[in-house]
Symmetry: C2
Subunit: 182 residues, 2 copies
């Protein structure tokens, strides 16, 4: 029933912490947020214009090293809008795992193909886990600096927990598939 577009809320959320350019927002999406949310340029730039026209953000031109950029800040109205959205219960948590999909139809391709999908998945998750453990370390060291770090840490730890569970499952799944191969 909520009328808030997610992309509006994510961008306002990021702007509630610091002023950012569209490019910087995309970088946050691809690093910090990518474990549970994504966004593309095709939604970021139009949304920024839209937020400005609705008075939820303001833009001002900046120059850094001769390069010009457009820096966006959240307004008081934007902060109110964000808080309203944060109050409302989460509407949807969903996974979209192509690996699982290929595994579900795995009988069509056979066990060895399924195992190679699991191995590729495992490699990817191991890499992500290494990154997240590094992030956790840094966040723990900065916990008392700023209250926001506590919440960042929480989401990083969610990723660590689930990725470890994934890795356990990978081993069990491979064992089960190998048993069938004999």
């Amino acid at each position: 029933m909520a009328l808030e577009k997610k992309i509006d809320c994510v961008i306002l959320g990021l702007l509630s912490h610091e002023d950012l350019t569209g490019y910087e927002i995309k970088k946050r999406m691809d690093t910090t947020l990518r474990y549970f949310w994504g966004a593309s340029y095709g939604s970021i730039y139009p949304t920024l214009s839209d937020l400005v026209s609705r008075g939820l953000a303001v833009k001002h031109d900046g120059t850094e090293n001769g390069r010009t950029k457009i820096i966006y800040s959240i307004t008081e109205d934007g902060r109110l809008y964000l808080k309203e959205w944060l109050k409302a219960p989460a509407e949807k948590d969903e996974m979209r795992y192509e690996t699982l999909l290929k595994l579900f139809f795995g009988n069509e391709g056979g066990a060895s193909q399924a195992i190679s999908h699991i191995n590729a998945f495992k490699d990817k998750i191991e890499r992500e886990l290494t990154y997240l453990l590094g992030a956790e370390d840094i966040l723990k060291k900065n916990l008392d600096r700023d209250d926001t770090h506590k919440y960042y840490l929480l989401t990083a730890q969610f990723g660590i927990k689930t990725y470890r569970a994934y890795l356990e499952w990978c081993e069990e799944a491979k064992t089960m598939l190998c048993k069938g191969e004999e």
Copy 2:
């Protein structure tokens, strides 16, 4: 780089097991597949027409209890198309968890609000876990009947593993947030 639309592949995957109507496909999506993939009527019906026009599926009218329905079957070309897609490595596994998003920006709303988001998440996951454990039980009993059940079981066990990890995280996250509240 792969040109296959996911929705084409999911539907062909389902049709590779049994003939289905659009309505039945939607039901599979909302029950068996919902833990790792979703699809709406708005993509299912147009895709079915499209698959027929490309020769990857055929439709035939059926009647059951006086009610008419359109039943779709996969063709040999459709099966080939599916197998090609299954061979290719998975391109994207992504989570889109609004709960995590609200938690990431949690400082704006405060600890008690964050805790109620976690509690709602926990309740939802507990319900899903109960369902998945029931499904696992049934699948285990039918393991020797049909090879496809092995792959279904694998994906159910993925869900069980991860949901248990989520529940562990919920407790730890709440503990951490309560500590800050004192």
